[in-house]
């Protein structure tokens, strides 16, 4: 029964062994460089897309979403490659802020699709929102934009 205590002590010891614990070494080391954000807003937006976890549901390059059983969108989280065709920049940013709390069911009597889009309004600052919007608009396949 003493094992939890022993493991806790070991874990604390490990945590305490970080670089700051050795002042002699850290004094000689150059300060850690923070990654410089890309100047290109589209590349920055790609990072934002990954940073906030959008990629987890909408997939790499937003091309293919993960399975979302009984979602009307063919049991999947939708891809985002065509958002530039259906939204203005402001409309898309509003959508991201608001999220999609309910996902339409494919079969009304079936289960509720497990994944829904959270409202990002309280988490994502305007700069990041602008960047991710530019990134998503850049995904529109060349030559596929139609004009009615």
């Amino acid at each position: 029964m003493r094992w939890p205590l022993i493991i806790s002590v070991i874990l604390l010891s490990v945590v305490g062994c970080g670089p700051s614990g050795d002042s002699h070494v850290s004094a000689k080391q150059a300060p850690a460089k923070r990654p410089v954000p890309p100047a290109d807003p589209v590349q920055l937006g790609r990072q934002v897309f990954e940073k906030y976890g959008c990629v987890m549901c909408h997939g790499k390059d937003a091309k293919s979403g993960i399975a979302n059983p009984n979602a009307k969108t063919l049991d999947k989280v939708p891809p985002l490659t065509y958002v530039a065709d259906g939204y203005t920049a402001d409309e898309l940013k509003k959508f991201i802020r608001r999220g999609q709390p309910t996902i339409d069911k494919k079969r009304a009597d079936g289960p509720t699709p497990p994944f829904r889009m959270p409202a990002f309004a309280k988490w994502i600052p305007d700069d990041d929102l602008d960047a991710v919007q530019k990134y998503l608009f850049s995904l529109m396949p060349a030559g596929e934009k139609e004009t009615f």
């Binding site: 094992w3 939890p4 493991i7 806790s8 874990l11 009307k72 969108t73 063919l74 999947k76 939708p78 891809p79 065509y82 958002v83 065709d85 259906g86 939204y87 203005t88 409309e91 608001r98 999220g99 709390p101 309910t102 339409d104 494919k106 829904r116 959270p118 409202a119 309004a121 309280k122 988490w123 139609e146 004009t147 009615f148």
Partner: protein, 159 residues
């Protein structure tokens, strides 16, 4: 003996990890539809779900059938019929948004028919709304909208 200890250690580490994850509980709960959007959609859906198209050109009447069949698969027809979209550019974005949803069953040809119907219908049934929006539009937006409305009228009324 070792395996029992390992088991306890695993449980402890697992519980610790879960406790750390539990800090995510500081996040605010997801909000449902914001009140403004919810009120807006509910207001649209309380309106009529049909349009009297008997005086519209034949091609537009045919497009009304496409609109009714395709759009009612996912939402009440009263939503677009009573919505505050009225300009061609607004309808184009809205229809494309629906068309690109996986499984929508709306082809590009269907989408164009639905667009023509909604643009024509708005220019008649929602004329006051169209005029109000055009009065606030930029000169470029106003010209583009007027040209598109004229193009749709010419396409169907000259037949």
């Amino acid at each position: 003996m070792f395996s029992v200890k390992l088991k306890y250690a695993s449980i402890f580490i697992g519980v610790s990890a879960l406790a750390m994850l539990g800090r995510g509980g500081d996040r605010p709960p997801d909000v449902s539809l914001d009140p403004e959007t919810k009120e807006r959609v509910e207001r649209f859906e309380k309106g009529s779900a049909t349009i009297d198209v008997s005086k519209y050109p034949e091609g537009i009447q045919e497009n009304y059938e496409v609109f009714s069949q395709k759009c009612s698969q996912c939402h009440k027809l009263s939503r677009p019929i009573n919505s505050d979209y009225a300009l061609p550019a607004e309808w184009e974005r809205y229809i494309k948004r629906m068309m690109h949803k996986p499984g929508s069953g709306i082809s590009s040809a269907d989408a164009k028919k639905i667009f023509d119907f909604l643009t024509y219908d708005s220019s008649i049934r929602k004329k006051a709304m169209v005029d109000e929006k055009l009065a606030k539009a930029t000169p470029e937006e106003k010209t583009a909208a007027e040209d598109k409305i004229k193009e749709v009228h010419d396409k169907y009324e000259k037949k």
